[in-house]
């Protein structure tokens, strides 16, 4: 047992001893089954003290403006625990009292309305599993495929079950006017994060969500209300939602002009690039991990697309020369994470592992070369090129 693990074990044994769980508090590696009663029932659960998976928190001068990433290699299935959902805040996490928080719906409507949280919870509800991915996820890969591990390169993406009121119900209640072609949604953070969205999307599948994974949305994810815009870039999923104004054209807010626009090689920029294209990442084996030796290894990962469901994930274990289909775990839901698995017998030689996703629209995840040929290197957002992990003869896994 390495020293740091031993120290952790001793600490945990200490905790357990205090709780009357393991009176010996010894350092033996052999599991001793409890000989006394365990801990009592409790009001709100916590994970085992042995579990330490965390979001890496970067050292920032202004930690209110920044992001943490989901440790994708250490989560299972398709649901990201709310506590590990990625964060991106532009002015810190506001503390909002749900008894006082309201949603104002106004602009080009017949009846401007104010909804309390209690009002919203009375209305017909819907629950859906959707990913949320920051438009800037994998942004560093434009210049060079440099991220050391899956979390660093892909961790600004998470997937949750969201529950709330379909936005179209609220628009019908307010009486959407024919001239209303766009909406602008605003958060209650101190920078009043604001984004414009086409009304067609609002009438399609947007949710005014109050719950995530079965409980109230976490403060970092927009408590008590968040706009969920399935398949669209994370930034338009406005957190701490406080008002929606129906307008006839986009508002051209700071975060849809100076930011979240995609600079092309010719100096023009694409604007309102909402959709998140198909993407996949192998989480095992991935950067920073080490294979224990030749033989069977299950290749695992995640794929998702804003255009629909994942239809296929191809795996190459020879750097893209040949491809085979991975098994896809059901359910394969539109605009949600899909888990893939692929049995692999590693021969102990150097090679490259690659995955590519194909979605239900027929779109195939491009290579980095295809992407940069189409857009240049300065887009900053919406990078979805395939990721190559290099396997060394010693079992080490590095960025390709």
């Amino acid at each position: 047992m390495p020293n740091n693990q031993r120290r952790q074990f001793l600490q945990i044994s200490g905790i357990a001893a205090l709780a009357g769980c393991s009176p010996q508090g010894t350092t033996t590696e052999e599991e001793k089954l409890p000989s006394a009663l365990g801990k009592p029932i409790r009001a709100y659960g916590e994970r085992s003290p042995f579990e330490t998976v965390k979001r890496a928190v970067p050292d920032l001068k202004r930690p209110q403006i920044g992001s943490t990433r989901t440790p994708l290699t250490e989560t299972e299935g398709i649901i990201t625990p709310s506590s590990l959902h990625f964060e991106r805040h532009h002015a810190g996490v506001p503390e909002l009292d749900p008894a006082k928080h309201t949603l104002l719906l106004h602009g080009l409507v017949d009846r401007p309305l104010v909804f309390t949280l209690a009002d919203l919870k009375r209305l017909p509800s819907a629950s859906h599993i959707y990913f949320v991915e920051c438009a800037g996820n994998s942004g560093g890969e434009w210049k060079a495929p440099g991220g050391p591990n899956a979390a660093a390169s892909f961790g600004l993406a998470s997937c949750s079950e969201w529950t709330g009121v379909p936005l179209r119900i609220l628009l019908a209640e307010a009486g959407l006017k024919r001239e209303g072609k766009w909406l602008v949604a605003e958060g209650a953070d101190v920078c009043k994060m604001s984004r414009s969205l086409p009304i067609e999307k609002a009438l399609d599948d947007c949710l005014v969500a109050y719950a995530q994974n079965g409980e109230a949305i976490r403060p970092e994810q927009g408590y008590p209300l968040r706009l969920v815009v399935p398949g669209y870039e994370g930034n338009v999923n406005v957190k701490w939602l406080r008002q929606i104004k129906i307008v006839d054209q986009p508002n051209q807010t700071k975060d849809e002009t100076s930011k979240y626009t995609d600079l092309l090689a010719d100096g023009t920029s694409r604007q309102f690039t909402f959709l998140m294209d198909a993407k996949s990442v192998i989480t095992y084996p991935s950067g920073g991990q080490k294979l224990s030796g030749p033989g069977f290894q299950e290749v695992r990962g995640l794929a998702w697309s804003g255009r629909g469901a994942i239809d296929r994930v191809d795996i190459s274990t020879d750097g893209g020369k040949t491809w085979e289909k991975a098994a896809l775990q059901e359910p394969r839901l539109p605009k949600a994470f899909t888990r893939f698995r692929f049995p692999w017998n590693w021969d102990g030689k150097e090679t490259e592992l690659v995955a590519r996703a194909v979605d239900s629209s027929g779109y195939m995840q491009p290579t980095r070369e295809e992407l940069t040929a189409a857009r240049g290197m300065n887009s900053a957002y919406h990078y979805n090129g395939v990721k190559v992990w290099k396997i060394g003869a010693d079992g080490s896994v590095k960025n390709g």
Binding site: L105, D119, L170, E186, P250, K254, T257, S258, Q271, T273
Partner: protein, 175 residues
């Protein structure tokens, strides 16, 4: 008659889409207080005015620490410069080189700046700081007044630099 009237009202409501009658009517006052959006045509810009010269004092006290004395950037990204760099290997996206609308400066400064005290600036100060940022980029003169009429008329250098999303531009169709 009463029944008929009720039926008529109900029909109108249903046609109108209102079905649940949940939520209360918003008052004009609360809409006015919440609605600080400034779209490109300038609707909602308040009375007031300011020039770059007027903005120097408040800028040096409340903005320069993060954005640099001349908007060149410091702790935060630059506000000025970058002209002609967008199609190069090192594009510098600033208000002057990149932002398509001058109204966005007012919108954002008014609601979100200064970072440590958002909403601090009154309308005159916001117009003045907006004018100074435009002036630091050589877009308006030192004495050009920004107000609800003049600001939406400012044409930003990169106004025509934005194009529609034309993806998918990659991702060949499978057979």
């Amino acid at each position: 008659m009463g029944k008929l009237l009720m039926a008529l009202i109900l029909t109108i409501c249903v046609m109108n889409g209102q079905k649940y009658h949940v939520g209360r009517a918003a008052t004009p006052e609360e809409i006015k207080a919440a609605d600080q959006f400034i779209p490109p045509e300038g609707t909602g810009l308040p009375p007031g005015k300011g020039t770059a010269a007027d903005g120097r004092d408040i800028y040096s006290r409340r903005c320069a620490r993060c954005h640099g004395a001349q908007g060149q950037g410091d702790e935060e990204g630059p506000l000025a410069g970058g002209k002609g760099t967008l199609n190069t290997a090192k594009p510098l996206k600033t208000v002057g080189s990149f932002w398509p609308y001058a109204t966005t400066i007012y919108d954002y400064v008014h609601r979100a700046m200064p970072f440590d005290n958002p909403g601090l600036l009154d309308a005159n100060q916001t117009y003045a700081v907006t004018a100074l940022i435009l002036h630091l980029n050589g877009i308006i003169g030192d004495k050009d007044e920004m107000n609800a009429q003049t600001l939406p008329k400012v044409k930003m250098p990169n106004r025509d630099g934005f194009v529609k999303d034309n993806r998918p531009d990659t991702g060949k169709k499978k057979k």
